[in-house]
Amino acid sequence: MPTNRDVVITGIGVISPIGVSVDEVTSSLISGRSGISLCEGPPLHKTFPAGVVRQNFADQFTKLELPYLDRCQQMAVIAARQAMTDAGLDSLAAYQQRAGVFYGTTRGAPTTELDAYQQILLHDKQALRPFTVMSIMHNAGAGQISIRHQVLGPVMTHGSACASSANAIGDAARAIRDGYLDVAIAGGAEAPLSAYMFALFEGTRALAATDPEDVSRSCKPFSKNRTGLVLGEGAAFVILESAENARKRGAACYAALTGYGIASDGHHIGQPRAEGQAAAIRATLADAGLQPSDIHYFNAHATATRGGDEVEVRAIRAAFGDAADSLPVSSTKSIHGHLLGGASALELIVTILGMTGSFFPATANVDEVDPGCALKNLVSKPKLGQPIERAMSFSCGFGGTNVGLVVSKYREMPAKRHAVTV
C-alpha cells in the first residue's frame, strides 16, 4: 500500500484571538496586533491575561444542536467548515473511507465538565443531562466535524498535550502520502478560558503575570523579563489532500506539507528535555529530505516559561548546528497565546501565511533577549519582503511529545491567494 504522494494544503479555517478568518490573522501577523486581554474565570478571584476570542458562537447553532456543543466544539465546527469552504469542499461522502478527520485537543470541554461536577457535588444530582457525555468526550469535536461533512473514513483524536494538533496534522498527511486517504480535515481546538483550566495552570505557577503597563504585552517568549505562558482559545484546521486529488478537482493550494517528525523526551511529565526536542527537529528534517540550512523560517513552540524557552533554544542549536544563527525564529504565542491542543494547528497556519505572504511573523514583546535564549536571528518585529521556500513549525507537549511539520512552496499547482497582500 505505501506510496509517496505529494500532500497539499488546499483550505485553511481559523478562529483565534488574532482573527476569525485567514485575512484577519494575516493582518494581525503583519501589524503585530495582540489578541491578549484580561479574562476572568469565576469563581476564581484573579484575572488572567489570555488570548480571548471576543465572540459568542452559540447563535450560529440551533437549540437542538447546542446541548451537544461546548464552546470548544462550536469553534471546531466553525473553523473546520471555514477550511472546507476555503478548499471548495462540503460533503466528503463520495470519498467513502478515503476521507478522514484528524483532531487534537487536550481537554475537550472543560467548561461543560466543570458544570457537570457542580451538578453532582453541589446540587446532589444523581444523573447528568443526557447530552453531557457526548459534549465533553475528547473526540466530540472530531465527531461533530465528521457528521457535518459526512466523513466516512478514520475520525481520530490526538491527545499529546500542546503537540496534539501537529500530531493530528502529521498523521493525516502521512495517511494521504502513503495512499490510505485522499483528503483529510486536520487540526485542533481548545476552549480553556474558564476557572478549571486557569486553576490547573495557576497550580503549576507557569502562568504569566499581567504586564503592569499593557496587558496585551504579557506574553514575552525568549525575553529576560518573561514571566510565563498566556492561555488562549480557538480552533484551527487545514484541508490536506493528495496533489493528484486536488488537481483532479481543479483546486489551488497554499503549500505542500513536506515533512513530519515526532520524537519524545522520555524524561519528565511536565519538564522538557532538549535532546528529545532536537531529535524531533532532526526527524522532521530527515522526513522532508532537507538540511538545516534549507529551512527559511522556524515557528517555535516557546511559551514564555522560564525553563521551557531556554530548553528549546538549546534544542534548536543542537539540531540546526551552524545554521541556527542565521535561522529566523519567532514565537507568535506572544500575540495569540497558547491554544494548547489547538496551538500547533494555529501555528502551522501562521507559518503557512508567513511563507505565502513572504514575511516573518514576529515574537512580540521582546524588550531584552534573555542571554540563555539568544539566537542571532530572533525576529522581534514582523519583517516583510522575505522569500520563504520552506518553513518549520515546532511544538512540544507536557508528557514529552515533540512534533515538527515542514511546509514548502508547491509550484506544481496554482497558488491560493487571499485578499490581504503584503
Binding site: 440551533t62 437549540k63 437542538l64 446541548p67 443531562r129 443526557p130 447530552f131 457526548m134
Partner: protein, 83 residues
Amino acid sequence: MLNTIEVVSQLKNILNERFGIEPATLNDESRLGDFGIDSLHLVDVMLDIETALGIKLENLSLPPNPSLAEVTATISQNMEKTA
C-alpha cells in the same frame, strides 16, 4: 390528578423553551423526529417533564420516532402506575 391536556401543554412548553419548537406547529400526530428531536433530546424532555409535573417516570421507553400523542400516553401511563 393531571389530565392529558395539561401533560400536552407542559410537553409543548418544554419543547419550545429547550429546543425552539413552536407549539402551534405541533399536533397529536406530529412525529418529533421530523422536528429534529432525537432520542437523547427525548430523554432530556422526559427528565424535564418529571420536574415540571412533580412526578417520577418509572418507564421511559418510547417507540422509535414517537408522535406527540405517543409521548403523552407514555407519561400518562407512568403517572397512573405511580398514582
